[in-house]
Assembly symmetry: C2
Homo-oligomer: 362 residues x 2
DNA sequence: CTGTTAGCGCGTTCAA
DNA sequence: TTGAACGCGCTAACAG
């Protein structure tokens, strides 16, 4: 009744377990005849290697863990999708652990990964470097993917939120907006704070008064924040939202209130999740090639793991902080530009004018 | 340098490994004093139990596997989200294995799960019962979640696709449509085929000529199919799409072509993914409470596992095929109804009139 | 109450 | 080329 083990196969094939192991793992030197007999026995017994046991003896799980924060949405789906695609190319499985609203929870999740994974992606913005270091007793390879740009010495991939926010404000300015509000992400979230900081800086540089309402990165809060904005005495003709989901919520709120977009108010999001191109008006946003970033993160983690297995340290570049520069994608939620936009780094940006027809992924 | 093991802790605390195990697992009888000493040693050595090793000796991984098909999207994201939430309540981790476009790939993925998980969700519509049975050597608890309604004796959760399709056609009919086309999902996909069959039946019952174009469940194919529909000589005033993503693609295609929805053509989708409520016009669709279905599936799988650990068979109900009945959600992509709609099972349906204001999830 | 020992299923030396 | 024995890290009997 119970699944066959390697010893069952050995007995059936009249050989030792060592030979079975060798034959099945292809590598070593085995007589063609005995190998054939072993394979037949394995087939007959429907033998399937026990990954757990194998992991224990090889100290290699071929599994990677992902520590996610509480909030969910298209951003993380896309990221995981990109990672997953790359993972199977490299022969790895993915184990996800989400819903970590607090730092302790995330730390516990990280600890529970020991002996279960070969490496870890940490996406929880709540957990700070100190807690992380404590939780990481064991030198598990890791790739950090939460906001704090290079504040840790661990390998990481971060988005240039500040630059992206600047580009958003610049674009709104260039298209004629004079009074730009910001619907921010939740306080305490590093990504949200960096985007807010970028907004404040850009506004200060332009000599404009900032106007901030706090949301929580979910679509509902974007809706509510937009209503709050409309209820306030202060006028505005442009809104930069901390992410796309809030921007979509805002778009709907404006629509319900009879406020036209982009004529009356222009809206810019952040992330370029797939939905952004599907709403009307199409959402102008800062594109992060999400799935590709996920793929890239996976490559780096695998690189670390392989390096650790072989030599000592990973190649120099792999221990650095890689930064992803968002790209402004102009759709119809903002008006036509009247002057040249500048990229986050000051050089001419690769601005993408996105046509209506882009909505074909098939 | 290497992580501390239980023996390091035992040595440090001057006790045996057994005592350490007992102290850490809380259960047994240990003197308060020695327990305290052990905990201190564990703390000092930053000891973290090795889940892999523990799994091997307890033959319990506390991990559940999910075998996903190739296509990704909001539907699966939502489902996984629901599962994940429930999983951590039950103390389980989730390991995902996606991108299985063919039956062999899915079977291989299932095999590779041995020794890695305590149970499995199979969502790949490509794998048939025969292959599945072969791959499942080992009596691993499983919950099937692909279209084939009850064709297997394994526990499963299936959507009443046929009934949902009937409801969609009935609704279009009730709102005055006379010529209803169908954008179908990919051939070979059980869900897609069941929805197509339901459409064909309902059309036949109404004495109408069917009109089918095949898509692939992605948004792009919905866009292309709608264009194909418009290019064809045959007129139509309603479209039932195999899923929401294709419906959204179709919506955009109509918009681009200047065809008004719902005035010129009414559109109905299937699934009620989160985006469905966010596009304009709001998409009328058949709601599957996706996250909740995921939660339910998890409960059933855990129920099976616990039953297998304890007694013999799971409770009778857990080995059955549970069916999820989609609920018609009327938004603005279809016109106002002029007569009463009937539910899939013939009784008055719990039709939900969804207001504009529903777009607040916060 | 605690320590010793035997597996869990597999990879991998080391002899033969 | 093959086999016997050990170890991966931990839990669970069985003694003491």
């Amino acid at each position: 009744m119970k699944p066959a083990t390697i010893r069952d196969v050995a007995r059936h094939a009249q050989v030792s377990v060592a030979s079975v192991s060798r034959a099945l793992n292809g590598s070593d030197t085995v007589t063609e005849e005995t190998r054939k007999r072993i394979l037949e026995s394995a087939e007959a017994l429907q033998y399937v290697p026990h990954s757990g046991a194998r992991s224990l003896s090889t100290s290699k799980t071929n599994t990677l863990g992902i520590i996610l924060p509480d909030l969910y949405g298209e951003f993380f789906s896309e990221l995981i999708r990109g990672m997953d695609l790359a993972a199977r190319e490299h022969g790895y499985h993915l184990i996800v652990s989400s819903s970590h609203d607090d730092a302790d929870g995330a730390a516990a999740a990280i600890r529970s990964m020991r002996g279960r994974v070969d490496g870890l992606f940490v996406l929880s913005p709540q957990i700070d470097s100190a807690n992380l270091a404590t939780a990481m007793a064991g030198r598990l390879p890791v790739v950090l993917m939460h906001g704090g740009a290079g504040e840790s010495t661990l390998p990481s991939i971060v988005v240039d939120n500040n630059g992206g926010a600047h580009a958003a404000v610049d674009h709104l300015l260039a298209t004629g907006c004079r009074s730009i509000a910001h619907i921010a992400g939740p306080a305490g979230n590093l990504e949200a704070e960096a985007r807010l900081a970028g907004y404040l800086e850009a506004m200060a540089e332009a000599g404009l008064e900032p106007h901030v309402v706090e949301g929580d990165f979910n679509q509902g809060s974007g809706h509510a924040s937009a209503q709050a904005l409309m209820a306030a005495p202060r006028r505005f003709d442009g809104v930069f939202c901390g992410n796309d989901m809030m921007a979509i919520g805002a778009l709907l709120a404006f629509q319900e209130a009879g406020v036209r977009c982009p004529e009356d108010v222009a809206v810019v999001g952040f992330d370029d999740v797939p939905i952004a191109a599907l709403v009307r008006p199409g959402l102008t946003t800062l594109r992060i090639r999400i799935a590709e970033t996920g793929r890239r993160a996976l490559q780096r983690l695998v690189g670390q793991i392989e390096a650790a297995q072989a030599g000592r340290e990973a190649t120099q570049s792999s221990s650095a902080c890689e930064v992803v520069r968002p790209e402004l994608v102009i759709r119809t939620s903002t008006r036509a530009s009247v002057s040249t936009t500048r990229a986050a780094d000051g050089r001419p940006s690769g601005v993408t004018a996105s046509a209506q027809g882009e909505n074909q992924d098939g």
